[in-house]
Symmetry: C2
Subunit: 413 residues, 2 copies
Amino acid sequence: MNVEIIAVGDELLIGQVTDTNSGWIARRLNLEGWELSRVTLVRDRRDEITAAIEAAFSRVSVVLMTGGLGPTKDDITKKTLCELYDCGMHRDERVQAMNEERFARRGFTMNTLTRDQALVPDACDVIYNPVGTAPIMWFDRDNRVLVAMPGVPSEMQYAVTHEVIPRLRTRFDERSVVCHDTCLVRGLTESALAIRLADFEESLPANIHLAYLPKPGVIRLRLTAVGEADAGVEEALERYFTALITELGDYVFCRQDASLAGALGLLLQERGLTLATAESCTGGNIAHEITLVPGSSAYYKGSVVSYANEVKTSVLGVSPDIIAEYGVVSRPVVEQMALGVCRVLHTDCAIATSGIAGPDGGSDAKPVGTVAVAVACRDKVHSVMLTFGRNREQNIDRFTHAALLQMVGFLLD
Amino acid sequence: MNVEIIAVGDELLIGQVTDTNSGWIARRLNLEGWELSRVTLVRDRRDEITAAIEAAFSRVSVVLMTGGLGPTKDDITKKTLCELYDCGMHRDERVQAMNEERFARRGFTMNTLTRDQALVPDACDVIYNPVGTAPIMWFDRDNRVLVAMPGVPSEMQYAVTHEVIPRLRTRFDERSVVCHDTCLVRGLTESALAIRLADFEESLPANIHLAYLPKPGVIRLRLTAVGEADAGVEEALERYFTALITELGDYVFCRQDASLAGALGLLLQERGLTLATAESCTGGNIAHEITLVPGSSAYYKGSVVSYANEVKTSVLGVSPDIIAEYGVVSRPVVEQMALGVCRVLHTDCAIATSGIAGPDGGSDAKPVGTVAVAVACRDKVHSVMLTFGRNREQNIDRFTHAALLQMVGFLLD
């Protein structure tokens, strides 16, 4: 089954909000073996919404819409759907009651606009939304299903998980299967990897496909198989995935679809090691990446985010003389930070960073984008200086990625 | 000038990678006064890429494409563009030389696939890419411009900033202006706010538009004005924005487009206060949000991410008896964490969190999604228990948001 998403909202098209809903829905559809074939982001404009829906229905039978269902004037999706389905609106008593109860529970007073959240198009089946005020609308006409959901991620996620997917499963009785296996590779460039895998790729049957998802220093390899249920799709995938892993040998450092922090966590757990971090320029982002991984408390004890220099000296025990001699963005300082945090938090391993994320603070010798990274494991310590770009947010991400990769390399090499 | 974006890549449609490029380009176009009217995400398939381009050119004259330009087999954008523009490919000597130099500098060996990155469609102007191996392709035919860029964010960002925007500016001599003013509001629901602003909204001229961007407890209000350059658009916007701020009085807690952490930073700076954080369940994400703000080192000293209980006691001085009596997710514990981190990092204010992000670790009394938040300022401390959902990543975000909002409220109320 092919599905399209239409995400509605001026805020998406001026970049004030990034559409993360589509990616989330994509992953969810994928688990069901359904293919998301296109995502369209349109403004809060009647003609653009209508045109996007009509075009989508010329290609697929299921369209999932997010956004534009708030109580305020700029949200026009509901009205637009009434026009498209040529119907009026009526007040849904159950939505009304749910919203009244919701407001009472929070001590808020309902008003005209909130009350009008209970107005629903005559042509839709109403799906009740226990986590927000906008009901979900299910339109089913001419064998084409359109579902309009709120753009608030938690409300959309609730609707998709508990209502939309189960209903689509019943409605279309879909039986095709899509499955994926993923591994992480380091030590090869994307093209060197592709050449190494040329014969393997040639050997793949038409329903199995290899994709490369490169990040600096790490390539995620994803093998995808598509087919009818009960046709041995998963077994075939497993066979080819084993062949792929064998072909790549030690270049593969993680045999599952993990984030870099997740792959590091697996390595630490295999070896029974604990980890702490001491972060300056990354400001807690390494800790955040590590703790996004469920179960990370098994090996991760915590971080000292030493944004101010005095915290580096007072909490981590970095010598003020070393800071004065080498500067705070230097290998000696991050080495002391790494060893210091191992000591303070009683861990085997540590990652430490100190750098200049920007936009200000650079010098000729150490421009914006410079970072010192140290990794330590049981008194052994290793450090590097690296240089990236000028954008603060991007630098924080790259510093984080580079630091995690250094730790993986230190454990493996 | 209206622009559309087409982002190409199977990884976007299965949700393995979230398209953040479009939002970034959107913000950049916005600064130029150009409107992004649609974003389309399509798979690495020839017919789908072609159809998306043709449809886009039926609506606008400028299409920016990202992705699908890597050296590997799954990247087919270049071939597809050759078909669409009915041309062959030739080797661009300068791209070839740049890539050879690039590989040599990094000590990598070039191979067939990397060498073929220098093959370019005959019908395009080549824009050289100093930060990656894939050249940028500029097609200009029948008064319609298509620019194909790599999907790697740093390469795309370089191309847009240094090449694409300046070239489009010259090519189209566009003079219309779009400007925005934003403020942050708390203490009102979205609909209560809309009712309060009904008269204000009625008074707006056709070229000025108000949008609501709600998050739990905070609403971002954006006023947008569009018009010809030199037609007083900015002055009109400023006048209406002042009227808006005046109408809302104390509900407005930030008069510029800041993140919640950014708004908190402005408040702290106004009052000359410093801040630290002590994070358990949020795992460094509060620190990360705070340090994403340029200049945050002026008021933010750091964080102790006390993921393990022993770190709460040994570094932050939380009493083991209090943990035993109330549990680690409790108001007394986070209050001690907040006061402890003020003491250890020598700050005026602190935010502390302890909670259960999930998926495991919940109990009947404290289910997954429960968080204790404390905020402290000069020995005064305030704490709350809150309950959110079941999704780990979402909980970390919501805990972070709630904690920052508590701190803002503590300073203002």
